[in-house]
């Protein structure tokens, strides 16, 4: 059952603001083994011209994965979550995420394709600050494996 193509272009409501905390950034940096002072020390971050500590490049996924649930769990789209694997991921940054940011996510279904019995769903999440300025754009491509499992792509299965 291929995914409903009419969902392409659908935009979901903005998520409530997520306040980025210094200690959350510290926790994330420690979890990936990153020790750059700009993640940990407000002084080091200020020396680079930022008002507070900045987050590692993949930190936005801590927000966008939850926001993407709006799409993945949409009963009208009808994704079987047990067959979803993570195919691709991309971030484009207007600036680094930093402590004190209040970030809102808007998810858009950008593309739905089918190939060899598998569906491919690309979502774009625009992450903006409290002034509405874009901070980072995040693309996730999910593979919904067909019941006939011969896919070569996305065996990560992490989503």
């Amino acid at each position: 059952m291929p995914l409903n193509q009419s969902f392409v272009g659908r935009t979901y409501p903005p998520t409530p603001p997520y306040t980025v905390g210094r200690e959350k950034i510290r926790e994330f940096a420690a979890a990936i083994g990153a020790s750059d002072p700009a993640y940990l020390s407000p002084e080091a971050a200020r020396a680079l011209g930022h008002p507070d500590v900045i987050a590692p490049p993949t930190f936005p996924v801590a927000l966008t994965m939850a926001a993407g649930g709006q799409v993945i769990d949409d009963p009208l789209l009808g994704i079987d979550f047990t067959r979803v694997v993570h195919g691709e991921q991309r971030f484009h940054y207007a600036r680094p995420v930093r402590a004190g940011d209040q970030l809102t996510c808007v998810c858009v279904v950008e593309e739905i394709t089918s190939r060899a019995g598998n569906d491919f769903l690309t979502t774009r999440t625009d992450v903006s600050d409290v002034d509405g300025a874009l901070v980072v754009t995040v693309w996730s491509k999910l593979v919904v494996r067909g019941t006939n499992e011969t896919t070569k792509e996305g065996p990560d299965a992490s989503r």
Binding site: A30, E88, R90, Y93, P155, S158
Partner: protein, 147 residues
Amino acid sequence: MLPGERLPARTYRVTRGDLVRYAGASGDFNPIHWSERAATAVGLPGVIAHGMYTMALAGRALVDWAGGADAVVDFGVRFTRPVAVPDDDTGVDVVVGGVVKPAVEEGCLRIDLTVTCGTDKVLGQARGVVREPRPAAGAGADAGAVR
């Protein structure tokens, strides 16, 4: 960094404990990243690392090479093979290599990454765009991109 330059590879050791820690920090509690039973039930060889954890390790290399945590402008990967993480004290090594390419954006460089675990290429089409290194401290304005 100049186009064509091969960047020094980075090796990151990954253990089960790292996955548990990453699950907590990222909020991704999918049990295939901590439960052998859950992983094998969906046909995986065993517990595998979060794809986003592997991408985060590649991001560490990118930041190291770029010489600044805020230098990354764009970063994208394709997840091609899982990183199976054994339940022992040794874990597995993820190796990240990079080659500098000319970038399309002014003042930026592209870095193509090769991310492997054993003989498996675990990320494909992995590339970052980074701002060119700032001038050394005291060398003037930090508007950057002076070459």
